[in-house]
Amino acid sequence: MGTFAQFGNDLYTGKRSYNIVGKRKLWYIIAAVMIAISVIGPFARGGFTFGIEFSGGSQFQIIVGDGRDQAPAVDAVTSVVPNTVPRVMLVGNDSIRVQTEQLTDQQTGDVRAALAKAYDVKESSITSSFIGASWGQDITRQAIIALIVFILFATVVMALYFRTWKMSLAAIIALLHDLVITAGVYGITGFEITPAAMIGFLTILGYSLYDTVVVFDKIRENTGRGELNEARTFSSSVNLAVNQTLVRSINTSVVALLPVASILFIGAFVLGAGTLRDIALALFIGILVGTYSTIFIAAPTYAHLREVEPLVKKHDAKVRARMSASREQGPESRRTEPQPS
């Protein structure tokens, strides 16, 4: 990996530099388009697909083994509750899941017995659950409260830590971007939204900000009071920080994605739909988007917010003046930073 380390070196010294902050208009446009798609897309598709936890109903899961056939399950359910249409799915590589409308306790028992007979398994090996219609709403309400409280807290904590509310604001903007896009992916692809997906969704909160804090810490270092470089505009200082932490960002997201990907893989292919897959899926999307947004949304937004400050403006003007002066003297006489275009 000598080349990758070399890549890190070049980014650190500024030998190689991606002008991320300077091209912020491009990122803003991309973000706006992505958000628009994430908002409109789900509606165009006909809204989000909610799991049984939100609509209420009864659910059975049977471990059948090989030779899974869905027909006996339908017959078993209709033999107990004649006018219902059960949803029968194959789950993982050995199970069948049956979802019905809300059944009474009596019906639940009967359906279990019927299913056990139909698939010739023990009744005790059938998993059943009953979910009241308000359960999902309860979870959602609590999740939304948690979301709001967390954002408020995190804003204050970050503002105190970084000593500037502008970093807070930029980080939160990036966070909202992540949430909207992750939700959009769910809406557009039609993945079922379950309480477990909600967990993953809420975890993105923590992860997205976690990632942003690391990069912002470097930005803070590069642009701290009295440390604004004479040779760099504010934006290029921010840009340098982003570049210097780029290797870390890549390493971190890879390391964070590996376990999540393994949960996703196991969850989706071995267990089938369920807690693990739903958590991992939301996280997988969230980590990707979160890493992206730290670099391409949070940092440019912060630079943007700060650039309008009189002090920073004055500094940038001075840097530009000096640079154009040195350019007239001769391009090789002084090393200059790439300018935001």
């Binding site: 998993t127 409280v149 477990a196 009295g226 971190t252 969850g267 267990l271 693990l276």
Partner: protein, 576 residues
């Protein structure tokens, strides 16, 4: 030769870490030794199999319950479940409004019905009382003003009873039933569901005394308040005991006045009335006066806690609470163990991938990552096992997912740290000082980012419901463990390693080779960062910045004088 200070400090940190681990193992061993704990964490139902019922207590008026009412409701449910003889049932609250009942295996329908029945405080007249024969009659509570004594029933009349307090309720059949009534029998369990217009045979919650009670005379809803107060005698002198002061609304006062008129001076046990909560007599005092103002007080050998607990029961049990089943999950044991195995498998794969990646990225430094992750895993495992013994924490599938996700976040602290050290090396520091100054900067970042992560976990844990909590718990726990491991293991180990020949010479496979990191070797173990010509500014500590300025200037001079070793001087414009 005396060891240098950082080395001493490093060893001290490692010793601390060892102390922590040994303490955790010791506590766990103590738990196992005393048969309360175990070496493995307890599993939640989705991993173990069993039934989980989520109940939402609701007041009949449609209001949601308050915190105290919820506690009351939990107490009622606990009593019902325990009385059903279900072992290892677990009752917890979730958020501020739900009660989770977890039962291993599959409960029968009767148990389920009993759990879901609604409850309300009722006043019933005592028609007969006797100490429960199946129990030794040691009165541990002393809640009543009369000592429980077996009493002969009033003559068994044949006339139809008219008023609730009419002894005519006590028929011969009822008397026989009463005499053979066992407080721990199955029948006793059903007492919560008794019809309010019928007499009731029941016990106190401890099975000390059994009663025949008349039909409900007053509903608990008339109680507006109940408080524990120091007992005062009629002359206004404090007796040193405690009393429960009840306040009733107007209607209650009127009804109670009538009852007290009838009961006062009546023959034992007809002079007693019972407060019945969920079919159990929580108190059955003797009427010692005519109370017409709706402010009766119960006295009789209360301790402060006893009075407080009765007052709470009266106050929060006053309103009828129904229990709506929000969800009921029955997980078969097969699926449970399936899920556990898959979860562990996913964790193992994730861990291996992370280890491989960090070895690839950080060479032998990756081994430090592996060791740190192992230490973190050991500490986390011990903590979770301890928590499940001490706090009754149960590891759920969502919790396992939280642990797996944490692998990434924990490994990231090491990445942040290693990258910082590399940055310092690129700035031309020697490895020892790179480790120490890299650590200072990295710690700040790690604390800040872990702080945000912990905040997220804490908010989720407090506010969210259901599975989310199990997830938030493990995520928050591992965040703390992460900080501990980075500070007490990763950093000290790096300090020690940086003094080994392998690292101080910057071996190619050490992951910290200055040459590979672009620092320019200038002889005699001094490295000059090529970037310094650029007047680099990212110094976290002012001090370092000041010290560096001279070096920078010198370097800049060198660059200006055409020293070609300052390689960064010419190629900056190529990217723009």
């Amino acid at each position: 030769m005396a060891k240098p200070a950082p080395v001493k400090k490093a060893w001290r940190s490692l010793v601390w870490l060892l102390v922590i681990i040994v303490a955790l193992v010791g506590m766990n061993a103590f738990g196992v030794f005393t048969n309360k704990g175990s070496w493995t964490p307890q599993l939640a139902l989705d991993l173990e199999g069993g039934t989980q019922i989520l109940l939402a207590p609701q007041l009949e008026s449609g209001q949601t319950v308050s915190g105290e009412q919820l506690q009351q409701a939990v107490a009622i449910i606990r009593q019902r479940v325990n009385a059903s003889g279900v072992s290892e049932a677990e009752i917890t609250t979730q958020g501020n409004q739900n009660i989770v009942v977890s039962i291993p295996g599959e409960p029968d329908q009767a148990t389920l019905d009993r759990i879901q029945a609604s409850s309300q405080l009722q006043f019933r007249p005592v028609l007969s009382a006797s100490s429960a024969t199946t129990q030794s009659a040691t009165d541990g509570t002393g809640e009543d003003s009369t000592t429980p004594t077996p009493t002969s029933e009033a003559a068994a009349p044949t006339a139809t009873p008219t008023a609730p307090g009419d002894p005519a309720w006590v028929t011969e059949e009822l008397t026989n039933k009463f005499n053979s009534f066992d407080c721990s029998s199955k029948e006793a369990l059903e007492s919560g569901a008794a019809a309010s217009k019928e007499p009731l045979i029941t016990c106190d919650p401890y099975g000390m005394e059994k009663y025949i009670l008349g039909p409900v005379e007053i509903n608990g809803g008339v109680i507006t308040d109940a408080t524990a107060q120091p007992e005062v005698s009629s002359s206004g002198v404090s007796t040193g005991g405690w009393a429960v002061q009840i306040v009733m609304n107007g209607e209650g006062a009127k009804q109670f006045a009538e009852v007290s008129k009838r009961l006062y001076g009546a023959q034992e046990p007809l002079n007693r009335f019972a407060f019945v909560l969920d079919g159990k007599v929580i108190s059955a005092p003797t009427m010692q006066g005519q109370i017409t103002d709706g402010r009766p007080s119960i006295t009789g050998g209360f301790t402060q806690e006893g009075a407080k607990s009765l007052a709470d029961q009266l106050k929060f049990g006053a309103l009828p609470i129904g229990f709506e089943v929000q969800s009921q999950d029955n997980v078969s044991a097969t699926l449970g163990s399936n899920q556990l195995q898959s979860g562990l498998l996913a964790g193992l794969i994730g861990l291996i991938l992370v280890v491989l990646y960090s070895l690839l990225q950080y060479r032998l430094l990756g081994l430090v990552t592996v060791a740190s992750l192992s230490i973190a895993a050991v500490i986390t495992y011990l903590l979770i096992t301890l928590m499940s013994w001490q706090e009754g924490y149960r590891l759920s599938l969502a919790g396992v997912a939280g642990l797996i996700v944490a692998i990434g976040i924990t490994a990231d602290s090491f990445i942040v740290y290693f990258e910082r050290i590399r940055d310092e090396l690129r700035d031309g520091r020697g490895i020892e000082s790179a480790v120490s100054s890299g650590w200072k900067r990295a710690l700040r970042t790690i604390l800040a980012s872990d702080g945000v992560n912990f905040l997220a976990a804490a908010v989720l844990f407090i506010l969210a419901v259901g599975n989310v909590r199990g997830f938030a718990f493990t995520l928050g726990l591992t965040t703390i463990v992460d900080v501990v491991v980075v500070a007490l293991f990763t950093h000290p180990v790096l300090v020690l390693l940086s003094r080994t020949k392998f690292y101080s010479e910057g071996h190619r496979f050490s992951g910290l080779d200055p040459r590979q990191l672009g620092a320019v070797y200038r002889g005699r173990a001094q490295f000059k960062a090529p970037v310094s010509t650029d007047g680099k500014v990212n110094r976290s500590s002012r001090e370092a910045a000041k010290r560096q300025t001279i070096a920078e200037r010198k370097a800049a001079d060198l660059a200006a004088s055409g020293d070609s070793s300052a390689s960064a001087s010419s190629d900056s414009r190529k990217e723009s």
